[in-house]
């Protein structure tokens, strides 16, 4: 291929990525403005809180407990190589709270919530329900997007906090039951070691990941193509985008909180 051609293609790719980024940013700002301005739809918010928060608890709890347990086993085995088995409580705490809690909960929310939001809104779009909303003087951004994004902003940090605690409890259970740690000392070590900054970073990550998950679901749903294929593409695209953005945002936020 001619190098100029390649350059032109690369240019187009960069342009299209920048353009999508701009569109998503505008969409997010639009959603935020609708969250702040009346009319509000409390019923829709209630349903979104239930779906995004409450009903995600089982999957978040299971993810966290197994991860915490596995983490304790790994650290014990790895630490044994240089006689550092005793750091299990500290490393489990820091690993769960700083990284694994928010990232795994974020990814589970992308899998569970982003996909269902995207599929639901895309189906509404394909069956003209979004058009029908507009003709009934109801703004789709306000009625569909705003409650979901707000609900994710409220509940995902809570889910992350719960996931952190359950993960630590998973590590604790494995350490006390199988690895011979003293129960009281384990908990004392965990509490002593964690700093406010660790916990704050965890919750902030949760809030950002929650917003990313909800916004990507809504964005892909609202921009879905026609037919069943359009719904499929929107769902797939939304989960991919949410997962990648959550991991990228995690990298940036970790830099912001811990490298300075």
């Amino acid at each position: 291929m001619n190098p100029l051609d390649l350059l032109a293609r690369l240019g187009r790719l960069v342009m299209s990525v920048m353009a999508s980024f701009g569109r998503v940013t505008l969409f997010t700002l639009d959603a935020a403005s609708h969250i702040l301005r009346p009319p509000y739809y409390p019923r829709e918010l209630g349903i979104a809180l239930l779906n995004i928060g409450w009903l995600s608890l089982p999957v978040v709890g299971l993810t966290a407990i197994f991860t915490g347990g596995a983490l304790a086993l790994q650290i014990y085995a790895g630490g044994a190589r240089f006689n550092a088995e005793a750091v299990v409580p500290q490393i489990v705490a820091i690993g769960m709270v700083r990284e694994l809690g928010p990232v795994l909960v974020g990814l589970m929310i992308a899998a569970r919530v982003t996909s269902s939001i995207a599929a639901e809104i895309a189906t509404m779009k394909v069956t003209e329900q979004i058009d029908a909303l507009v003709t009934l003087s109801t703004h789709p951004m306000k009625y569909l997007t705003a409650p979901r994004v707000l609900a994710a902003l409220i509940t995902v940090p809570m889910l992350v906090g719960i996931g952190d605690i359950i993960g630590i409890m998973g590590g604790y259970t494995v350490a006390v039951q199988n690895l011979g740690f003293n129960a009281a000392a384990y908990l004392q070590n965990t509490v002593d070691f964690l700093e406010t900054r660790d916990v704050v970073s965890s919750l902030v990550k949760g809030a950002v990941f929650g917003v990313i998950a909800a916004v990507m679901g809504c964005y892909y749903g609202m921009n879905s193509g026609r037919g069943a294929q359009g719904v499929g593409r929107a769902t797939k695209g939304s989960v991919e985008a949410a997962a990648v953005l959550i991991l990228a945002a995690n990298f940036v936020l970790t830099g912001v909180f811990f490298s300075i």
Partner: protein
Amino acid sequence: MIRMENVHKAFGDNRVLQGMTLEVPRGTSTVIIGGSGTGKSVALKCVLGLIKPDSGKIYVDGKDAADTGDRDAFLARFGMLFQGGALFDSLPVWQNVAFRLLRGSLKRPVDEARAIAIEKLRRVGLKPDVADRLPAELSGGMQKRVGLARAIAAEPEIIFFDEPTTGLDPIMAGVINELIREIVTEMGATAMTITHDMTSVRAIADNVAMLHGGVIQWTGPVAQMDDSGDPYLDQFIHGRAEGPIEAVR
């Protein structure tokens, strides 16, 4: 009154509307006929602003529909029955019908909204026991009628019906034709209806407009439809395979 002037709309290289001009006087019923895929539904959506025309103007009561200051107030004057029903499948039937009455500027107490919904359902031939069912539990024809009930629930001044009688049995189609006629004559509403059903055209129309090739091929009072002398219209209303409109086989 609604006036469409030289409206163009293309989707990619599919040129759908190519200079559509149509006038719908206040308080009258206009029926749009035309082959499948000629852009009838697109034309209605252009008036509502759901689809943005590429060029041309649309006026509602002399005001440009593209820059209405208060969009909610503008849309509150309209009711629309979508071709596919477009019912909200997460809401029970009565909440679909009363959607506008449960929120926004036309909000009423819940009991009152429900009573109105049940009354509108009755007018489209549905019993009160469907009120608490979900749209997915209804037959196609029943869903269509729920959509119709929703379109008329807030008693809008301007109502668009996209194929109101498709999928209904002949008796129910007759009931719906009468209902549309009543809404225009008794409530003084302005109606635009799309239909393929010639019985329906004769029952509801004051004026008929035929869309073909992206433009209004013929328009006039329903009484003149049979002796228009327009070969396209003649072929269409008599359902002939031979004529100037190509039937691809």
